[in-house]
Symmetry: C2
Subunit: 343 residues, 2 copies
C-alpha cells in the first residue's frame, strides 16, 4: 500500500481547482448546487488525477461500512465443499453485489469471534450460515438490535431471530406421498445430524406423513448420522441386512442418498427395483448419479437471495418488523431411483 501511487485526496483536487474541499465534495457526491462551470472544471481534474473517494474515511464519518458479514462456523469446512451451501452463498453474493454492498466472509473461531465484526463496526449486518444451537454469542445480537439474519432456523419454536429456511416438513411429506403411491409401506429414514433443527423437522415431517396414512412409526427405521456418503452407504446396508428390511429409504441429503445407492449397488441390490431411494436438496450431482436420483429440491440460491435482500432492508431501515421469518417451499423431483414397491 505504502508503495503504491500516492493517494489523491479531496484536498488535492480543491487546491488545484482553487476551490474549497466542500465544493469538490459536492461534485463527487452529486449533491448540492454547483455551477455547471466549476462542476465541469473540477470533474476534469478528478478524471485527470484519477481520484477515488477513500471509503474508509467515508465510513468513519458515516458510521457505516457498506459491508455485510457472512459468518460460517470454522469447524464446518463442509459448507465450502457442499454444493448446497455454495448455492446459498452465490445467492447472497449476487444480491449484495447488486446493491454495491461488500461481502465479508468470516470463519468463526476463538481468536476472533464474530461479535467483533459488529462491535468494531466492520459490518453493517450479519448473515449466519451454520451456527450451532445455543451459540453463546447469539443473545448479544438481539439485545443490541443489530441487523442479522440466519439461513436456517436455530430453534424449533418461537424465538426472536430473523431467518429464511425451507419447508422440510412438507418436503418430507411429498416424498412419502410419492412412495406411498408406489405402494411402499415400510420406509426408512437416514435423517442427518441430530443436533440440526432442519434434521429434526425432516423427522417430524416423516412421522406426520406416515401417521396421516395410518402407518405406525417404527423408530428402528430412523437413523441419525453425518451428512456424508460413507454414513449413507453403511447404514443403508445395515438396514437391508436387518430381519425386516424397508422397501424404500428416505435420506436427509443427497450425499447420504448417493452413498446409499452406491453401497446397495455394490452389495447386489438393484435401485429402484429392489429398494427405492430418495435424496434431499437436489444438488447437481443428483442428476448425474446412476440411476438419476429422485430428490426433494430446496431452492438454495433463493434462500441466499432472500437472506441478503432482507438484511439489506433491515440495514436501510426499510423494514423493522423483527422477527422476519420466512419458509420457502420445497418440491419433489422424481427421477429414476424410485419405483413400485417389490412387495
Amino acid at each position: 500500500m505504502q508503495d503504491s501511487k500516492q493517494m489523491v485526496t479531496l484536498k488535492n483536487i480543491a487546491d488545484i481547482a482553487g476551490v474549497s474541499i466542500k465544493t469538490v465534495s459536492r461534485v463527487v457526491n452529486n449533491d448540492g448546487e454547483v455551477s455547471e462551470d466549476t462542476r465541469r472544471r473540477i470533474q476534469r481534474i478528478i478524471d485527470d488525477l484519477g481520484y477515488y473517494p477513500n471509503t474508509i474515511a467515508r465510513n468513519l464519518v458515516n458510521g457505516r461500512s457498506n459491508t455485510v458479514g457472512l459468518v460460517i462456523q470454522h469447524s464446518a469446512n463442509y459448507i465450502f465443499s457442499h454444493p448446497f451451501f455454495n448455492e446459498v452463498m452465490r445467492g447472497i453474493a449476487e444480491t449484495l453485489s447488486e446493491h454495491n454492498i461488500n461481502l465479508l466472509i468470516h470463519l468463526a473461531n476463538k481468536d476472533m469471534p464474530y461479535s467483533h465484526l459488529y462491535y468494531q463496526r466492520l459490518v453493517d449486518g450479519l448473515i449466519f450460515m451454520s451456527i450451532p444451537v445455543n451459540d453463546p454469542n447469539l443473545p448479544e445480537l438481539s439485545e443490541n438490535n443489530f441487523p442479522s439474519i440466519f439461513t436456517c432456523r436455530i430453534a424449533e419454536e418461537n424465538n426472536p431471530t430473523c431467518w429464511v429456511d425451507s419447508d422440510f416438513i412438507d418436503g418430507m411429506e411429498q416424498a412419502i406421498d410419492h412412495l406411498y403411491s408406489l405402494n411402499h409401506r415400510r420406509m426408512a429414514l437416514l435423517a442427518g445430524p441430530e443436533n440440526l433443527i432442519s434434521v429434526r423437522l425432516r423427522v417430524k415431517g416423516y412421522k406426520k406423513a406416515l401417521t396421516e396414512k395410518g402407518i405406525p412409526v417404527d423408530e428402528s427405521l430412523i437413523y441419525y448420522m453425518d451428512f456424508s456418503s460413507d454414513a449413507g452407504r453403511n447404514l443403508a446396508l445395515q438396514l437391508m441386512k436387518s430381519p425386516n428390511p424397508p422397501t424404500a429409504i428416505l435420506c436427509g441429503d443427497d450425499m447420504i442418498a448417493i452413498g446409499a445407492v452406491q453401497g446397495l449397488s455394490e452389495a447386489g441390490w438393484q435401485v429402484p427395483q429392489d429398494v427405492s431411494v430418495i435424496g434431499f436438496d437436489d444438488i447437481e450431482l443428483a442428476r448425474f448419479s446412476t440411476p438419476p436420483l429422485t430428490s426433494v429440491r430446496q431452492d438454495a440460491f433463493l434462500k441466499g437471495q432472500i437472506a441478503a435482500k432482507t438484511l439489506y432492508r433491515m440495514i436501510t431501515k426499510e423494514i423493522d418488523e423483527k422477527p422476519f421469518q420466512q419458509i420457502l417451499p420445497t418440491r419433489l423431483i422424481i427421477r429414476g431411483s424410485t419405483a413400485v414397491s417389490p412387495r
Copy 2:
C-alpha cells in the same frame, strides 16, 4: 447501526478513568509502559463498558484495511457452482482466517470495477479467480505495484503477474501415458473454452505427449467447448459417430467427462469397454459417477492456500520478489472409466 448500543470510545474510557486518551490506547494496544495500577484500572473499565476498538478509525490512520479482496468475474456464476473453485475459495478463506485477515468477496461488474477496491483502500491486496485474458484493469495493478495474485495464469509466456497454477501439461501427459499403456493410439480431446490459458496448456500437453510417442496429432480430434456436461455429451456422441472414432476421450474437466460418459451410455456405448474416458480436476463427483471416473487431480485447496499465504507475505513485505510464480503438481487418479483399447 444507529439504533444499536452507543459505541464506546477511547475518550469515554479516558474520561471515566481520569487519564488521557493515549494512556488508554496504550493498554488497549499493549504498547508502551503503563503502571500496573492504572493498567488494571483501565482494563476494568474497558471490560465493564464492553469497549472494542473501531477498526475503521484504525484503518484510516494506518492506511491499511486488514482485508483481502477476492475478485470473481460476475459472468462466471459457474465459479460458485463449480466444486473445484469452491475448494480454492476454502483454501483462501481458511488461510486468511488464520492470520485474522478479512476476506472480501467481490463480483466484478461494470458499476463497481475491482480497481475501486484498492483505489478506495478497502483492501490491502487482491486475489483473482477468473479474469479474462486482456482485462483492461489489469495493467493498472502492476503499474501501481499493488499486492495481487492470480489463481491461474493469465498469459502463456512471461508476464509480470504473480500466480499459482497447476501443471496442466504434465497432467495431460500422465493421462496419455496411461492410455498409451492400455494400447490406445487414437485419443480425442474435449478441451474446454479456447480463451482460457489453462485449456491451451492442456492442449499443449496433449500434443506434446502424443508427439513424444510418435503419434501424429489429428486436429480433428480436438474440440473447444464450455466446461459443461451438455457440451461433453454432445461432442462425445459426435466423435463416436465419425468415420474413424477414437478409442479414448480426454476431457478438460470432470463435468465434460461426466456428460460424455452419460451420453455414451445412453447411446449404447460401454465405458470403458468400448471407449475410455478421462476427466480433469478430480472433483468429488468423479468418485460417484458410474463407472467411477479416472481423472487428473488438481489440488484446489492447496492452490487457494498458497495464493492467500503468498499475498499475505507480499502485504507484510516479507517477500518482494515479483513476480512470484508457482506451478503445482497434478496427479492421475485411475478408476473405472479407462481400460484396454478395444482395437
